[in-house]
Structures are given as C-alpha cells and as structure tokens.
C-alpha cells in the first residue's frame, strides 16, 4: 500500500508514489515525501537547476546499502537527466605519494569499491571524470545555479555556498536524498526553500581589529548558532562589498567552517551576499539573538581546538591545504607564498609532505605553468582528492596531519594551524 502522505501532492506526483512509473521510482518518491512530511513541508516543488551535486564520491567498501540502492535505480532505468557533479575522489596515486601499505589500504581495502561505484555513477548521470570536487560552483566546473534556483544538492559546504553566495535555494540534504530529489525532479518545500526559513535568528557583529581568518570566524559562528541562519555585520569592512574571486574564496572557507563546526546551511553578510544586499536587516527575525565577535573571542575559539595527536609535542608530518578545494586564485596564492617562503629561507624543499587540493580542471590548467614545475621541484604535491578521505585510512592516525581547514580538523585527527603558522612549518621557518 502506498505511503499516506500529509503534504499536498499533484496527481502526477501521486501517480509516481502509487507505483505507476514503477516500484523503484515509487520507493524513491516515498523517501522524498516522507522526508518532507517529517519537516511539515507543504508540497513538492520542481527542481529548477537540474544539475545535481552528490556528496558520496567514495567507493568505501562498507557502503553496501548505497551500492545496492544504486543497482536498483539503474535496473529500473532511473537517472539524473541533467547530470550531476560529485565530491572529490578519495585516492590519487598519480599525484600523491603513498607508501606501499597505504596504496594497498586505499585501493584494495578502504576504497576497493571505487571502480565499480564510479561505473554506477556514470550510469546514473555523472557528468565526467572532471566532475569530482566539493566546489562544483567554480566557473571551471560550471555547475552554477542562478539566484532563486531550487536545487537538490548535498555536500554541506556546497549547499552553504549555493544558498549564501549564489542566492539559490537548497536544504541541507543528506547523501541519497539529494540523488533521489534529482531523479524525481522534485524536492519538499520547507526550511531554506521558504522565505521564512531564510530569515536570520542571529545577528553577528564582527568587531575585530584586523581581517578575521575565515576558518576561525566561521567556526566561531557555527559553534554558536548551530543550524540557525546568521546575519553577519561588519565583515564587509574587511572583505569589501564586491563578490570578487578573493571575496568568494573567503566566503567559501568561512561558510564551510560554519557548516562543519555547526550546521549552517545559509548565512547573510551585510552589503555582500545577494539577499543581504537586497533585503538588509529585514532578514532578521523578531527577537533575534546577538553575538559579538572580537579578537579575544576568535582567540578563545582557536585555543579551544583539541590537539588529538598521540604525540602533540612532535612535529607534524603532512600538511593539507584545500578543504574545500582551493580556487585557482587561492592555488596561485599558496604557490607564491610557499615558493617565496622557501626562497627567503634559502631552502629548496618543503619541510614536510605538503598536499594542495584543487578541482581537476584547475589542477590541469595549473600543471601547464612554470609555477607548477617549481612547486613540484620543491616537493609540493597538487591533487584533486578529498583530504578527509585520505584521513579515513586508519594507518594515517599516527601521522600528525596538519591543516588550515576547520572542516578537516573537525572530521579527523588533523591539527589546525592558522594559514601563516602552517606556511611557516611548510617552508621550514618554524620548528
């Protein structure tokens, strides 16, 4: 018997739910409708930006339920008609140095299902081999929704960016839900899809004496507001009013930290992000909470991060930069800073394994530059993997991984360093 839905459905949607387009599509629809009912959704609305973005890019052997569902979908002839991009691959033996044990662990044990999973993804609508990145909204990738578009995406940082910086509308969907919404072409209307759900319950005032690091500012806000929408004032003083490449890169890292340290799916920055520019403080709910962030508060948050290394007194061995993936502007900046740092310290090689992560098309373009050759000579590795998936390997637990990404810190045993601190370690200027 078909699920007894609470929300309003069109006759065509009811037909799908009742199995008139097949049992598997009915089960997909039931999942979407139940999901909406759980959140008191009023109706299902069409996905207006049909290109999906999936979070589950890794063929972890343990994800048997996912592969089973994928097979069911493929057998039923279902797919995402406009295609989808997907989070980064977990493993890149061409561009990252692994020892033999690591190679075995990643390719056979941990991600042993990668090849077969990628075949499933291709059958379901994966756009291309270049589509593996958490930053699908970069122009080089081209999965860029318009303001007001309704999406069926997952990946917390991508959803956060699409809602906040692009002004699209997407809930923080889980893996599988995003695929199901893209397949049926409808998503339940609730939360961040509604005008009311996009209003801010927090007014956050940035009152610092210097430009705050996006990773720590985002972390502080995420920890404070959790899943609420913050309206941030005073940040335009530091990042300007225009959505330049530099500003968008800042907001990308800031947003990823709000999403991973809390559960923020949307933020507004006064005079910067599209809805804040359009509606200003009318986006604040009645009775909103306030949070003032100054230098001391940022330092308090930074000091609160636990160091999870077994031997915290020892030096780090691997540095990851680019979670979420570096934009081309950021990649250039990191390359310049590392090369300049080595030169000024009269060093030829970086002091630890250093891995910069960026989308495939950005990396391919960068590989044709002289700077890339210099970086490679210095020992830096440029890849398109997901650093988080690198750290899923239990063998990495004793490796003292360092990062300037608050997202990676949150989901792994990696130790967080500010950008300048990490740069000093990479270039051998700090013991």
């Amino acid at each position: 018997m078909a699920y007894r839905h609470k929300m309003k459905l069109t006759p065509a949607q009811v037909d799908i739910l009742e199995g008139k387009q097949g049992a598997v599509k009915a089960k997909v629809m039931e999942t979407i409708v139940r999901y909406g009912d759980m959140f008191e959704a009023t109706e299902l609305v069409p996905v207006t930006h049909g290109e999906g973005h999936l979070v589950t890019s890794f063929g972890l052997s343990l994800l048997k339920p996912v592969y089973r569902i994928m097979d069911e979908l493929i057998s039923a002839g279902l797919k995402v008609e406009e295609g989808f991009t997907i989070d980064p691959r977990p493993y890149d033996p061409e561009n990252v140095s692994y020892n033999p044990l690591d190679r075995l662990m990643y390719s056979k044990i941990l991600y042993g299902a990668q090849e077969s999973y990628e075949k499933q993804l291709a059958q379901l609508g994966l756009k291309s081999g270049d589509s593996f990145t958490c930053t699908c909204y970069y122009p080089e990738i081209g999965n860029v929704p318009d303001k007001g578009d309704v999406l069926s995406w997952a990946e917390s940082s991508a959803v956060n960016y699409a809602n906040s910086v692009l002004g699209a509308r997407c809930n923080r969907n889980s893996g599988m839900i995003e695929l199901f919404g893209s397949i049926v072409g409808f998503v339940p209307k609730f939360g961040l899809l509604t005008d009311e759900g996009r209003k801010a319950r927090w007014k956050v005032t940035v009152n610092t004496t210097k430009k705050p690091l996006p990773q720590i500012l985002g972390s502080a806000i995420g920890i404070k507001v959790m899943e609420d929408v913050p309206y941030v004032v005073g940040l335009d003083r530091w990042i300007g009013n225009e959505l330049t490449d530099e500003c968008k890169s800042y907001l990308k890292d800031f947003g990823a930290a709000t999403a991973s340290n809390g559960a923020v799916g949307l933020y507004h920055v006064e005079n910067v992000t599209p809805e804040a520019r359009e509606f200003g403080e009318t986006l604040l709910c009645d009775g909103y909470n306030e949070y003032v962030i100054d230098d001391a508060e940022l330092e308090r948050v930074y000091r609160s991060y636990p160091v999870m290394w077994k031997h915290p007194e020892k030096k780090g061995t691997i540095a990851f930069v680019g979670c979420p993936h570096l934009s081309s502007t950021q990649l250039e900046e990191w390359a310049d800073r590392i090369l300049d740092g080595l030169k000024s310290g009269d060093r030829r090689k970086v002091a630890c394994q250093t891995i910069l992560c960026t989308p495939v098309p950005v990396r391919k373009a960068f590989e044709n530059t002289e700077k890339y050759a210099l970086l490679r000579k210095s020992g830096v590795e440029v890849t398109s993997i997901c650093p988080l998936m690198y750290t899923s390997n239990p063998l990495t637990k004793s490796r003292r991984i360092m990062t300037c990404s608050n997202k990676l810190r949150t989901y792994s045993l990696a130790r967080y360093y500010k950008d300048d601190e990490l740069l000093a370690i990479i270039t051998g200027k700090e013991e």
């Binding site: 039931e30 999942t31 999901y35 759980m38 343990l62 339920p65 889980s174 839900i177 809390g262 636990p306």
Partner: protein, 146 residues
C-alpha cells in the same frame, strides 16, 4: 520517575540505557570510524563532543538536541543501521534536523530498520536525563526516565 512526550517519527518499544549529548551530535565524526573498522559496536569518535566521546551507543538510547556536520550524515546513519550497530533509539529534544531525518527515513524505507526516533521532547528532557540512566520508550512517543 520523570515522563516526557515527543513526536513519533518511527515508533517502537525500548527499555535500556541512555547516552546523553548536550550538544549537536556530528554524525560523520561520531560514527564513521566504527563503520570503517567494521566494529561490532559504535564507539563515538568525535573529539569535539566530550559528553559522548569514546562512549558506546550501540543498542542504547542516544539523547541529543539534533545532529550536525557533513551531509553524508543521513547515509552514515543508514550504514550503521544496515550493519546492526546503531543506537536503538534517537531521542531528540528539538525538532529533528534534515540529516538525521534523512538517515531515519533511509533506514526505515530501504533497510527495514526498527530504529526508534522521537523528536521535540523538549529542553527539560535533555536537562533531566543523564548518561547511564535507564529509560523506557513506548509506541506513543512517551519517554520515562526510571
């Protein structure tokens, strides 16, 4: 004995131990390691959640405000349900969040899981229940701290 009433998302009967997190539970950070290691129990691995860090939640009632973190969260919950190492109950003081909601539905629809989920139990519930308390959950969404 204290009694609380919530909204039934997936009903069932449970009597057993509570494990309590006063902050949002990061599903990926909490459950991933145990799943990857094919562990027979979920030992919470989230370094940022001192309330439940390194506690075993398999077969217990996980009491929490909401879940937070990566959007793989729902799927991770589905995976631990398919492995049979999930908490028996998820008891939310607040409205369930979209990631946990997805995880519950994926587990019920695609895994035939009997994971019990109740939300909107209220802040007083979370202020009252303690890790190690024995609690009873009934089909109508009543939670008793015995």
């Amino acid at each position: 004995m204290k009694e609380f009433k919530g909204r039934v998302l997936n009903g069932g009967y449970f009597k057993g131990e509570a494990v309590v997190s006063h902050q949002g539970v990061n599903t990926l950070a909490s459950f991933q390691s145990s799943a990857i290691m094919h562990a027979d129990k979920v030992k919470i691995a989230d370094q940022n959640n001192p309330d439940i860090f390194q506690k075993n939640v398999t077969g217990k009632a996980l009491c929490l405000p909401q879940t937070i973190g990566s959007t793989t969260g729902g799927m991770v919950l589905q995976v631990i349900c398919s492995m049979g190492i999930n908490p028996s109950c998820l008891l939310f003081s607040e409205h369930i969040d979209s990631l946990a909601g997805a995880g519950v539905i994926l587990s019920v629809v695609w895994e035939n899981s009997e994971l019990i989920a109740i939300d909107q139990l209220g802040q007083e519930f979370l202020d009252t229940v303690r890790s190690g308390d024995i609690i009873e959950v009934t089909e109508d969404g009543t939670v008793r701290i015995l």
